[in-house]
């Protein structure tokens, strides 16, 4: 089941904050966040695991509400380099087999543009 991301697009001025949301209709084992710049591969930002463990980026934070099956990515004091499309990828519990985080199901993405 593809997670739903919101907003679809956001335009910021440098230094402003943004929140990107990701919600699923299914119980989740983990949520992954990636940023993709045009013509490049997705770059890992953050993983949030069931049980509260969080691994990722220094300047970007995220939350994972297991009960609501939602995650939010918080971008504070945005920089020009934050521009790109942000994808959340979810892993459902029964798909987490053999210790792998495979079977990531990605949302449609949120396009973030940071202007000077």
């Amino acid at each position: 089941q593809q997670p739903v991301q919101s907003p679809q697009a956001v335009i910021l001025r440098e230094g402003e904050d943004a929140v990107i949301n990701c919600s699923s209709s299914k119980a989740l084992y983990s949520v992954h966040w990636y940023r993709q710049k045009h013509g490049e591969a997705p770059v890992f930002l953050m993983i949030l695991l069931k049980g509260g463990e969080q691994k990722g980026h220094e300047k970007i934070s995220a939350s994972f509400n297991e009960k609501k099956q939602q995650s939010s990515l918080y971008l504070t004091a945005s920089q020009l380099s934050y521009s790109g499309t942000y994808f959340c990828g979810t892993v459902e519990p029964y798909m987490n087999y053999g210790g792998s985080q495979g079977n990531l199901i990605f949302g449609k993405g949120t396009k973030l543009s940071v202007k000077p």
Partner: protein
């Protein structure tokens, strides 16, 4: 982390032909994943490739169209067979991180395929 390379980086192919995409990782990994990203779209998992066993395909993808090889723990190939313009996409391989990083999934740079 994992360093992943893909060949070719891009190609333009004629309808009805086949293209084999190579994915090389700098460390031994158990599972490798192949994704497709159509223009302006999200990433969709094609299949999961375990060394020494048949690849596992997601709904909508079949082995005859996307045969995969996984001859060792650092290499995999994806073939796009009997191509049509609808196969024009970016094809990405990904792997789980190693050591303390196994919860993370890393992506290769992608192969941009255009079918005429």
């Amino acid at each position: 982390s994992a360093v992943i390379s893909q060949k070719p980086s891009r190609d333009i192919c004629q309808r009805g032909t086949s293209l084999t995409i190579q994915c090389q990782v700098d460390s031994q990994v158990t599972m490798m994943f192949w994704y497709r990203q159509q223009p302006g779209q999200s990433l969709t998992l094609i299949a999961t490739a375990n060394q020494g066993s048949e690849a596992t395909y997601e709904s909508g993808f079949v082995i005859d169209k996307f045969p995969i090889s996984r001859p060792n723990l650092t290499f995999s190939t994806l073939t796009v067979s009997n191509m049509s313009p609808e196969d024009s996409s970016i094809y990405l391989c990904s792997v789980d991180g190693t050591g303390d990083d196994t919860d993370t999934q890393y992506f290769g740079p992608g192969t941009r395929l255009t079918v005429l």
